[in-house]
C-alpha cells in the first residue's frame, strides 16, 4: 500500500458534504403515505380501530356529559350520532388518502407518489 491516493483536501470534502446534505434536504420533503401499512390487513385494522375509537369517544363522552350536566339521555343520544359521523368520516379520510388530520385541505398536491390527475 505504498501508492495510496493522497487524501482529499478539506475544500473537496466540504463540497462533497454539501452535496450530500442537499440530497438529504431533497428527500426530506414529507410524504403523507410513507410508512403506513397499505396491505389489506393493515387497511382492515385501520377501519376497525377508527370505528371502535369513534364509538368509545362518542358514547363515553356523551355518558360523561350526561353525568356532569344531568341531561340524560340527550347527551348520550346526540354524542352517539356525532361519534358515528366522526368515525365514518375518519374511515372515509383514511381510505381516500386524505390522511389522519381533521380539516379537508389537501396539502400533498405536489406529492409525486399520488398524482391527482392535474397534469402530474
Amino acid at each position: 500500500m505504498t501508492d495510496r491516493k493522497p487524501p482529499p483536501s478539506l475544500d473537496e470534502l466540504e463540497a462533497r458534504l454539501r452535496k450530500a446534505r442537499e440530497g438529504q434536504e431533497e428527500r426530506s420533503r414529507p410524504s403523507r403515505y410513507a410508512g403506513i401499512p397499505q396491505g389489506p390487513l393493515g387497511v382492515a385494522w385501520r377501519i376497525g380501530v377508527e370505528l371502535v375509537a369513534a364509538m368509545i369517544v362518542g358514547v363515553g363522552g356523551g355518558w360523561l356529559i350526561d353525568r356532569w350536566l344531568g341531561t340524560a339521555p340527550w347527551g348520550l343520544v346526540v354524542m352517539f350520532f356525532l361519534g358515528s359521523a366522526a368515525g365514518i368520516l375518519n374511515v372515509y379520510r383514511a381510505i381516500s388518502g386524505l390522511g389522519f388530520a381533521p380539516g379537508y385541505r389537501r396539502t400533498d398536491k405536489e406529492d409525486p407518489e399520488r398524482p391527482n390527475g392535474d397534469g402530474h
Binding site: 426530506s28 410508512g35 401499512p37 356525532l82 390522511g99 389522519f100 388530520a101 396539502t107
Partner: protein, 247 residues
C-alpha cells in the same frame, strides 16, 4: 390453560401509599427491564465510537438512523427537535413488544392502560406544541376549510371528536394487536395439549399441526411486534407534523 392468564398483573413488591395501590408489578418490572436494555444498548454500544462500528454499535446506529429517517420523512425537516421524543417512544415500545416474545415474560404493551398512557402523552405533547406554535389559531383546525358557516354547529363537534379519537385509536391499535397475537399463540398451543389428552397416541401426531401453525405465528408475531412499534411512532410523527403545519 386459560389463554388470558398470561396478561395477569401480579404485584412483586406490595406497596400501598395513601390508599393507592402502587405495588411494583410484573408489568412494571418489564418496563424497567425494557428501559434498561435500551439504555444499555445505546450507551454501551456507542461507548467505542469506532469509525467502523462493531455489532452493538451498528445496531444502535441502525436504530438511530431508522428513526431519524422516519422523523425526517413523516414529520418534516422542522421536526428535528422532537426526534428524541419519537426515538424514546419507538425504542420503549419496540423493546416492550420484543421482550414479550420471549417465553415466560410479560408483554406490558398488551395492556390498554399502558398504551393509552403512552398515547395520551403523545396527544398532550402534540396539542401543547400546536398551541405554542400557533396560539389561538390552533382552533381553526376544527373548522374544515371551505365548508359553509351554517354547517359549523355540526362540523365542529365532529372534528373535535375525531381529534379526541387520536389517543384512543393509537392505543387500541397497539394493545389489540399485541393482546390478540399473544392470545392466539396460547390458544393454538392449548389445542395440542387437548389433542394429546383426548386422542391419545393419534393425538401426538395430529397435535403437531397446531405446533406447526404456532411456529409460523411466532414469526408473524415478530413482524407485528416491530410493525406496531413502527406504526405508533409514525403516527406520532404525522401528529407532530399536523401540529407544526396546522392545515
Amino acid at each position: 390453560m386459560d389463554p388470558l392468564h398470561q396478561f395477569q398483573i401480579n404485584p412483586i413488591v406490595q406497596l400501598i401509599i395513601a390508599g393507592f395501590d402502587v405495588s411494583f408489578s410484573n408489568s412494571a418490572l418489564f418496563m424497567v427491564v425494557a428501559a434498561l436494555l435500551v439504555y444499555g444498548l445505546l450507551v454501551h454500544g456507542m461507548k467505542a465510537r469506532a469509525l467502523v462500528p462493531g455489532r452493538l454499535q451498528s445496531l444502535a446506529e441502525m436504530f438511530y438512523e431508522f428513526v431519524a429517517g422516519m422523523v425526517r420523512e413523516n414529520a418534516g425537516a422542522d421536526a428535528k427537535p422532537y426526534f428524541p421524543f419519537v426515538f424514546t417512544l419507538f425504542m420503549f415500545i419496540l423493546f416492550g413488544n420484543m421482550l414479550g416474545m420471549i417465553p415466560y415474560t410479560f408483554t406490558f404493551t398488551s395492556h390498554i392502560i399502558v398504551t393509552f398512557t403512552l398515547a395520551l402523552t403523545v396527544f398532550v405533547f402534540v396539542t401543547v406544541l400546536a398551541l405554542m406554535k400557533h396560539g389561538l389559531h390552533f382552533f381553526s383546525f376544527f373548522m374544515p376549510h371551505g365548508a359553509p358557516i351554517a354547517l359549523a354547529p355540526i362540523l365542529i363537534p365532529i372534528e373535535v371528536i375525531s381529534y379526541l379519537m387520536r389517543p384512543v385509536s393509537l392505543s387500541i391499535r397497539l394493545f389489540a394487536n399485541m393482546m390478540a397475537g399473544h392470545t392466539m399463540l396460547k390458544v393454538f398451543a392449548g389445542f395440542t395439549v387437548l389433542m394429546i389428552s383426548g386422542l391419545g397416541a393419534l393425538g401426538l401426531f395430529v397435535g403437531l399441526i397446531p405446533i406447526a401453525i404456532n411456529v409460523a405465528l411466532t414469526g408473524f408475531e415478530f413482524l407485528v411486534a416491530f410493525l406496531q412499534a413502527y406504526v405508533f411512532s409514525i403516527l406520532t410523527c404525522l401528529y407532530i407534523r399536523d401540529a407544526l403545519e396546522l392545515h
